[in-house]
Symmetry: D2
Subunit: 388 residues, 4 copies
């Protein structure tokens, strides 16, 4: 085994590398959750969090995982037996619809090949066929963390509109928020689900729901039992800068600092950086002679790249070699992709040289694991990153 | 206004003062939630967390508030329409039964005066009367954070047994765990609910359920819809040292350090220290000529003391004076006690001299707010703290 | 032994309690000491550090202890065999003149009783007698950390002027800077010596020389060999925002944050707070029936109080009891005061309630150590601190 | 300008990247410098620091820069007018002998071309010629930080012995300690000078002298005036686990943690890692078609590589492009090498992938700055780093 020194390379598609400033901000002493300082913190945060969602509507922040925020979106807007339209874009879309079923909803799960995003035409066709408007919600994962395929949220909105269907539009932006351009208001999303540990560059522990007026209205009659995730008491308390429970104060400190960093860079620059890193990574994959999992040029994720290995190789072995030898974590293939792909996260707090080091590590690791690749991969990436 | 310098005195009954070591531990970089290092962390934690619960049974750790852990206890063990027996010991007991009702349970809410704990005899009588065993669970708040009254959990267990009743026993230890002696296994508690930001000396953001075998069996048939809070997938994943979602990694770092500190002091010493601080505080209150809210000597809380003011005084005014002049946060009167009491938290990471400073601040603040008190309060407290 | 929990009470007269914000600021990654970011840091700091010295002249910052800054003041301004006038105000004044002698200077050391500051009349008389102007420098310790006696720097300046003597005026403000009003320019001090770990609320590791134009001129011909402490290359490099060596970058981060905190409170408020804390402490000492070491009302230190014990008691025993039982550090008697006094530090980042806790701890510790004191000490202090 | 995100690449030859654990360790509260906890810290450190120096003799730790430790080595062992033999290996050797001259020593400065280390034969010849033993000390810089050339300390020792000369042997290991194999005792070094911010992976602020018995004896009669840097009172105080001044406590916390990390990796592994990184870097430089400054294969530094640019290029322009575009700091050419070379630091806390990112950044930066290089540089480095 090689010796290990230096910083770990955390290049999974989340949790991502938390900036030092955010970690230090989180190390401030916890304060009274009912005092004036906390109130000022919450008032500020609830405004500051809106731009990254592309919204002027309220954003509910939970002390929870992203799966908690999934549940919140469902239980606040739907009733037992409601029909929801879901799409098999990958592992996480599959888990979300399983959750829906477990909570008592009826799921239409449109099958997929895990290499494409949601097809807007399919959405339109499905909704147009639902003349009785039994479908109460359309659930889409913006960026499938398991595949590196990004669905086209704006086009799907237009498809729903084209079908003239009143279903709510629920979108999971867990691994896209703060990485890929996103517009809750403009795209008419009703609930945007997200969490802290990806593009927001925080440790895990916060879940988010951005909520449209239409979703808020739906919540007034939605019949699924709920208490912890209930928007109403939270939104009421938020008006006073408080929560109906003790919120995760120190993560909120981190959120304030992370948003500051994000907006200091500027969202358009943040998105462009992610796109550039994704393109450099695909350039390397192509030059190696390997295949990117995503098959549609319009759907390449800016946040991660899933790399498909030739059948005779075990992607988990490659990952293990890379972890042991180069102290870098990559994402595993999940569900039906287990052992077939590895995923390179290039999201969050990331500079060109760390990405270069990441690609260098993958290239060396592939070699050590016996996967024959062209050594021009790293050079192809640098050609992209080093453009004038 | 006096100038403010030095550390804030956070003497509310939680969140409590987080030890510096815990804050620094939490500032470590977030790691891969599916890697071997995380797995080792979880395996270690799930064992290490048991002694403070007094259990050898599994403890489920959620990225949530304490209210989330309340909900988890209910949805994992009960079905819609199930009857639960609750006791009005104060504000939080009231909130918990409201949650139960909101989730679709039927609540028997035994009224109380907010100055006493749960009466074991009342428990026995109620259960004995329930010959049809319609009551599926007895819900008790161990330490009422709103009143400083601690119910006698062991005696209530004996009362349930005396009634020969099969109801589950659910106990909220949110502000008692790590402060007041507690024995999940010995007292036959089925679900112990707790959270991070009190005696565990962590920031808020983690909820806990310690789960008895009987509760686990109940969860197999419990009919309330659940997903995020479902024990089963978590316990399954925990066997591999993982979670079915991304857990709040950095809070887990903090938990590891906080448990280390707690066990280094030794639980019996921790409980004795809390009891000693509580007694010193009551000595001061008595010497001031004020009244402690708790009326039963057997039920004084080791974690906080609620002080009742003469009718003509506004406790919130006193708190405000103390915050502005001495930079100390105290707990407000909640619900029906609003304005009538203030609460001194003396739990968590606390030494004699910080308690002395706390009592000094209360004494001076009472004076400045126009509440006539005997200045012997601080001396009475020191007499207690300084005993040979 | 009592259990130990909560924050340590560091009530020695320095190092003082470092604010959390300063510790976190110091935890930022070290940067290139020749890059533009460092340059901006230095340019900012060298301006920002001036107000606390009461100067518009340059301040040289060393990576050193305060003793290093003593040496710097001497070697930059004096030549082998030069005569310096020093005053035995206590342990540190004694050490400084020993250093002067060791470096090859000739010291006139005016004896003292360690209970008074420097007598301005004595200064005038000594200098007036030195008609040949052989005395090249007058060295005074502003606040004797070993005794809690503060010399009157402005009055001594007037005494020097009255004698019409050209000697340089070197002042040690190690434990007064940022605690007690100080005016380098107005009082015509030539070199002000200080360090980081007292009123500046930093960890130890930085030494300071504020330098008058007259001192700078003296340095051009001063003959003591010097290199590390030489002002000239530092002042030259400072113009570019750099140092001729690698400075203690992370302590500079801390200094920036500490100055921000100090100026946010406002220097007049800072000095008033220290004076108020000192008076409250003396009120307690008096009420206990003990004696404050300082004998002149005009010379009470705002930074610390040395408490003299009756002959039959060992002050170190009292300190040990307090450390073991209450986890509080107090200052020992030094030199000829060893075992006779203990010193209460009330300087730096300190609030009323921590001071109250400190006095409570001393009172209880005296009792436990068998020193009979009136328990009214704490009440006397609170009377002072709690005034409307 | 490209956007900047992710961690800064600090690839100068010191200060180096401080491990997160060290920064967090340094953020612990400052403690009483005369209490038992500090004493235990010092006793532990003074033992633990010895292996990295390869010594069982005392190591004096100063709150100072490395230049302070230079001065300490000279003033403790030499007297005014003493003759010292120095070698012009580069910028820092030049500065050290300038300091010696400024302190009153007479320097024999053997000229050099800044591309070679000290020639052992030259040492032997010089000393053999000094039949009157007027030379009191031989001063050698182990690793010239300005050139990336490492002198052969063991061979020079043998040369001194071969000449039968009694001169003291003073060695600067500022940028070699913890990077390149070093043996104070075995090589008969009398004073080893070092500091914190290079291979020891700490922020700047600590200087070191490892001291041989012969040097200690010399210090008894050495006549240069000294006080702050005087070994004697420090060594006396160290026996009690203390210092005669307030040491830089929080940097000592960091030192403890840094040594733990270093020894956990194991010194032989640490040295091998540095050598491997240096070789990979030289492989890249060669493949680019550029020249490494160091001309002797036996003298390549394991800590940094200085790269010589073709005459028509300005190395400072290259560095500026790299800083602005890729957020990486490289070392400038110093003294006579200004603008002619840039220096890549590959020392301290550094992993293979960060080195790969560093080389990638240099390669891209050279291209953007108009220096024509073969893009095979990065691949050549990866060939080296990725060997089975």
């Amino acid at each position: 085994m090689a010796t290990s020194s230096g910083r770990h390379f955390l290049q999974i598609p989340g949790p991502t590398n938390v900036p030092d400033e955010v970690l230090r901000a989180m190390a401030a002493p916890t304060i009274d959750h009912r005092g004036p300082e906390f109130s000022a913190l919450v008032h500020g945060l609830l405004e500051d969090v809106k731009p990254v969602f592309g919204t002027e509507q309220p954003v509910v922040v939970y002390p929870s995982s992203g799966t908690g925020a999934w549940e919140a979106a469902l239980v606040n807007t739907l009733s037992p037996g409601d029909r929801v339209l879901c799409f098999e874009t990958g592992h996480f879309a599959t888990l979300w619809q399983e959750m829906a079923a477990r909570l008592g909803l009826v799921v239409d799960f449109v099958p997929g090949d895990w290499r494409h995003g949601v097809d807007p035409d399919e959405v339109e066709a499905r909704l147009a066929a639902d003349t009785g408007h039994e479908i109460k919600a359309v659930c889409v994962v913006h960026n499938e963390t398991s595949t590196g395929v990004a669905s086209r949220i704006g086009e799907i909105r237009r498809a729903i509109d084209a079908a003239g269907h009143p279903a709510l539009y629920l979108v999971d932006t867990i691994s896209s928020l703060g990485c890929i351009d996103y517009r809750h208001d403009e795209w008419g999303v009703d609930v945007t689900v997200s969490c802290s540990q990806k593009g927001l560059m925080l440790p895990p522990g916060l879940g988010f729901n951005a909520v449209s007026p239409k979703a808020l209205r739906a919540s007034e009659t939605a019949g699924l039992p709920r208490s912890f995730f209930d928007w109403a008491p939270i939104l009421r308390a938020n008006e006073q800068g408080s929560y109906p429970y003790t919120s995760a104060t120190n993560l909120l400190y981190g959120l304030r600092e992370a948003l500051r960093i994000l907006y200091a860079e500027g969202l358009p620059h943040v998105y462009a950086r992610h796109a550039r890193h994704a393109a450099a990574t695909r350039a390397a994959v192509g030059a190696w002679g390997l295949e990117v999992l995503c098959l549609d040029e319009r759907e390449h994720s800016g946040a991660l790249t899933a790399v498909l290995l030739p059948e005779e190789h075990d992607a988990d072995h490659v990952r293990r070699v890379i972890l042991e030898r180069f102290d870098m974590s990559l994402g595993a293939g999940l569900g039906r992709l287990a052992g077939r792909v590895f995923r390179i996260g290039h999201l969050g707090h990331l500079g060109d040289l760390t990405l270069a080091g990441t690609i260098a590590g993958v290239q060396m690791g592939l070699g050590l694991a016996g996967v024959k690749v062209d050594p021009g991969g790293i050079t192809a990436a640098l050609d992209h990153l080093g453009q004038a």
